[in-house]
Symmetry: C2
Subunit: 252 residues, 2 copies
Amino acid sequence: MRQYILPNNFKGESPFKLKGKDSQYFTRVLRLKKNDKILARDKNGLSYQLTVLEFDKSSCLLDVVKLKSGESFESTDELPSFVGDYPKLHLFQAVCKGKKNETIIKMATELGVSSITLVQSEHCIAKKESSNTDRYEAIVKEAIQQSGSPIMTQFNKITTFKDFVNCLNIPLLFFHQINIDEKVSLKEKLKDFDTSTPIGIFIGPEGGFSDKECKILLDKNCIPVMLKTNILRAETAAIVALSAIHTLLMEK
Amino acid sequence: MRQYILPNNFKGESPFKLKGKDSQYFTRVLRLKKNDKILARDKNGLSYQLTVLEFDKSSCLLDVVKLKSGESFESTDELPSFVGDYPKLHLFQAVCKGKKNETIIKMATELGVSSITLVQSEHCIAKKESSNTDRYEAIVKEAIQQSGSPIMTQFNKITTFKDFVNCLNIPLLFFHQINIDEKVSLKEKLKDFDTSTPIGIFIGPEGGFSDKECKILLDKNCIPVMLKTNILRAETAAIVALSAIHTLLMEK
């Protein structure tokens, strides 16, 4: 079931009026009509029951009822979703060229990652991606809505490799084309983790990590992983790595 | 390690001359120079050791030595690959709109699926994708080269749902948003399979499978799977489903 992310200017008021693009998303993409109901979340992840009171070409008036945690609600959106615990995956993605970042951000959000942080690493070809933060945040928001994700994926501003490593406070798996400890399976590497443990996942850029970066990550006790497959493009690597870990944790 | 797929006019001769686009791929994308060596495969999957004898702007002359199965070879391409058995996954993908098919075909080939077949199903929005076969075959070829995949992924022409079901001769998992047997985990559904078993994976179009199609698939003993995650777009669903099954079979 899809959901609606309320705009930042929503302060809990009912009725609440959507205008312009926000209203168009509601009536044209979600195709909601008078009396239709949908689940909504605000920027803090709090849940609301929305009911369409009236709408026209440029605006949409909504009845808003705040929901308590776990309280049931009605939705006229048909697609059902998985209900249950999600792994707490935090994606750290070395900046890629152009549209690749968008593909990665969109797919990772659909899969329900907790956060996405772009990292500037040595072999990154793209240098100035920080200016796209607004665009990336919009992609995250739309992916949450379309996928009905219960996880309010947090998009963090781009950071340097050095700052990233210094601030790291969760276990991190980094995906690398060279197999450093090939005898240990991915399943074994995840044996101490479950869906309640925050786990960082670090994916290199098109050119992979440098030897220096690998050494720094190993010195910080980060866990190297080589996927048992071919050489993947950066965007494929990100979604395959996330899916692999998501699956192994969910199927434990 | 990447590899080169020899053009269809190659008949085993040495030296062999590449011209035009084929030559440009060799010298500009793979960036091979005089005396550089690379692994090549012909359209039947047979392996060859290539050595660049000479090249100019429009052509490239290669020394060709046929390799026996498992025979060692030299490559000046640095990126290492996973060596081992791959699952025998056959992707059946309901036709999606526009570029989505390309994304799916590219990612699935990188992951080393054995074959890809597009299927026309009831909720498909795109109706005339059969004309793009040449383009899709070119995407498969390039993805095999770039990913160094040892699997010569076969691209099959578009088929109807009816023909697909009637010709089905391998176990099939189909991915569906409604959980038909939620108590059985994906791992359990895969318990009789390993990397030597051919497995079909059927992914619906943007609108999912119809109730009628689901019933036909269940009647044919196909296995329904609901991914334990959000509502995924068709292209994300394909790669997540393939990754999940690839991982569970490789980590057995």
